[in-house]
């Protein structure tokens, strides 16, 4: 596999290269680059199968590199340390990433999956979501919802609510049938963070824009645009009201 390492920290470059050399004889490292310009240049000049990319690099981000390349056909393993927006964009695009410092075993596992073609090639649209959501461009923002067979791309405004059943979460939409995925509600809450959603109950996440009415009561309840009534837990009422008013 023809491989390029995009990473601005030279010690980290060396670490990646050492692990790759020790564990993967089939991997041939074509280049080690540390900036947006150099990455774009070497990625468009070489035939590349596989790229390891850190998010923050000299001159911008790896997402800038992908945007500039436009069309590409290689596997990517992303690494990042503490970039909140990058992590959110990865989650929203349903793309895996490795946290730094990188766990050696996890890194090896990720490369093995790429090598054995077990990792499915990410869809073009997933990268588009990644780039748009990182730039926080509200019109283009979509989220990727992977169910067992395919990935659904939806606008957050079309999601009315998410309801959890232990490790499964069901999404209810305004324009299509419900979809159940095998992710926890906490994961979904992280995906939808900053997009106007609120966890009114341990089991329910609602889109604040789809609330039609608030009914008083112990915690109170809300009527959603699809006619569903959802209870608000008492402990979340106060902060819910705050979030609702900010809207």
């Amino acid at each position: 596999m023809q491989t390029i390492i995009v990473e601005d920290d030279h010690e980290q470059q060396e670490w990646l290269e050492n692990v790759l050399k020790a564990e993967f004889p089939n991997i041939r490292i074509v280049a080690r680059v540390d900036s947006v310009t150099k990455a774009v240049e070497s990625l468009s000049r070489n035939e590349v199968d596989f790229v390891i990319m850190d998010v923050m690099i000299k001159g911008g981000t790896s997402f800038d590199v992908l945007e500039k390349l436009g069309d590409f056909d290689f596997h990517i393993v992303f690494t990042t340390s503490f970039e909140e927006y990058a992590i959110r964009a990865f989650r929203q695009a349903a793309i895996d990433y490795l946290l730094k410092p990188i766990d050696r075993e996890e890194f090896i596992e990720a490369i093995k999956r790429v090598e054995q073609k077990e990792a499915d090639r990410k869809q073009r649209e997933q990268y588009e979501v990644l780039i748009a959501n990182y730039a926080r461009n509200p019109e283009d923002q979509k989220i990727a919802i992977p169910d067992s067979s395919s990935i659904l791309f939806v606008h957050p405004k079309d999601i009315i609510r998410c309801v959890s059943d232990n490790s499964y979460t069901t999404f209810y939409f305004s324009d299509r049938k419900p979809v159940t995925i095998s992710k926890s509600i906490k994961h979904c809450e992280q995906i939808l963070d900053g997009l106007g959603f609120y966890r009114v109950h341990n089991r329910v996440l609602v889109n604040l824009k789809h609330i039609e009415k608030y009914k008083r009561g112990d915690g109170g309840s809300i009527l959603l645009s699809d006619g569903e009534e959802v209870d608000i837990s008492r402990r979340r009422k106060e902060s819910f009201m705050r979030a609702f008013k900010e809207l």
Partner: protein, 278 residues
């Protein structure tokens, strides 16, 4: 005689009329006085009400501000009691030890766990309440680090009452961890008599609070010393936090500690933790 009676009668009559007239006038005067007093009283009541309300609001705002202040203080305290500097430097020293032994893989493994724990702690400590499941996740990561550092010199036994759903119970973050930390630091004797210490943590649901009991063996000389010495700093910090929580949540949660003599001396720390649930 008759005339006298007649005169008397007319005089009485006119006197009566006169008195009646005066009474009527008096009534009118009173009416005017009281009538003009009513709006005045209304104005006074209104003013009184306005002043009272603004005072009450000010007092309410002050209380809210104080609560907010104590909440932000609590966040700080959570952070402070969470990331015990002693523990951080011990971890770094262990990593250094692996590096100097050229045990690169172990050093890396340790470093990655350490960074994950710090990440989780940073996330949890910004919140006033976290799901019990998340708090226990951080606790177990912490215990794993200590076991690694102390070469598995102890066993950790975590028991949660079946009636508790850890996803659905919310507690102040990292209040249990420092107690487990104390238990580990006091519960393991350095002379290594071959016996593995067992540190247990049992969580039961009480009436509007969580009851957490931590039990660890303690060396005899340490137990005696402890009775003279004041409480450990970790315990004092927890106590302060608990008092703040009690004032915010209107509870009366307590922390107690006792040493019980079995075939060894066992230190039992019991804490009641305020909780919220959905």
């Amino acid at each position: 005689m008759n005339l006298f009676l007649f005169l008397q009668a007319t005089r009485d009559q006119s006197a009566e009329e006169y008195a009646e007239l005066i009474a009527q006038q008096q009534e009118q005067i009173e009416l005017v006085i009281y009538g003009s007093l009513i709006p005045l009283i209304v104005v006074f009541i209104f003013l009184f009400f306005v002043v009272y309300r603004s005072r009450r609001e000010a007092a309410f705002r002050k209380r809210e501000f104080e609560l907010q202040l104590s909440r932000s203080n609590m966040e700080m305290k959570a952070l402070r009691s969470q990331v015990n500097p002693h523990f951080i430097f011990n971890c770094l020293a262990s990593i250094q030890h692996f590096i100097s032994k050229n045990d690169n893989k172990q050093a890396e493994y340790y470093l990655v766990r350490f960074s994950r724990l710090i990440r989780q702690v940073l996330e949890n400590s910004t919140q006033n309440m976290v799901a019990l499941s998340e708090d226990l996740e951080a606790l177990e990561m912490y215990v794993e680090m200590e076991r690694l550092r102390l070469q598995n010199q102890f066993e950790f036994d975590l028991q949660i009452d079946e009636s508790i759903n850890p996803e659905n119970i919310f507690i102040p973050p990292l209040i249990i961890q420092p107690l487990v930390e104390n238990a580990i630091w006091h519960g393991i004797d350095g002379d290594g008599n071959g016996k593995k210490a067992v540190i247990s943590c049992t969580i039961l649901s009480g009436d509007h609070f969580l009851e957490c009991t931590i039990e660890n063996p303690i060396m005899e000389n340490k137990a005696q010393k402890a009775s003279y010495k004041r409480k450990s700093l970790g315990l004092v910090l927890i106590q302060e936090r608990l008092e703040l929580l009690n004032s915010v949540y209107n509870t009366d949660c307590q922390i107690t500690q006792e040493d019980v003599k079995k075939d060894y001396i066992s230190r039992i720390t019991r804490i009641e933790i305020p909780l919220e649930s959905d």
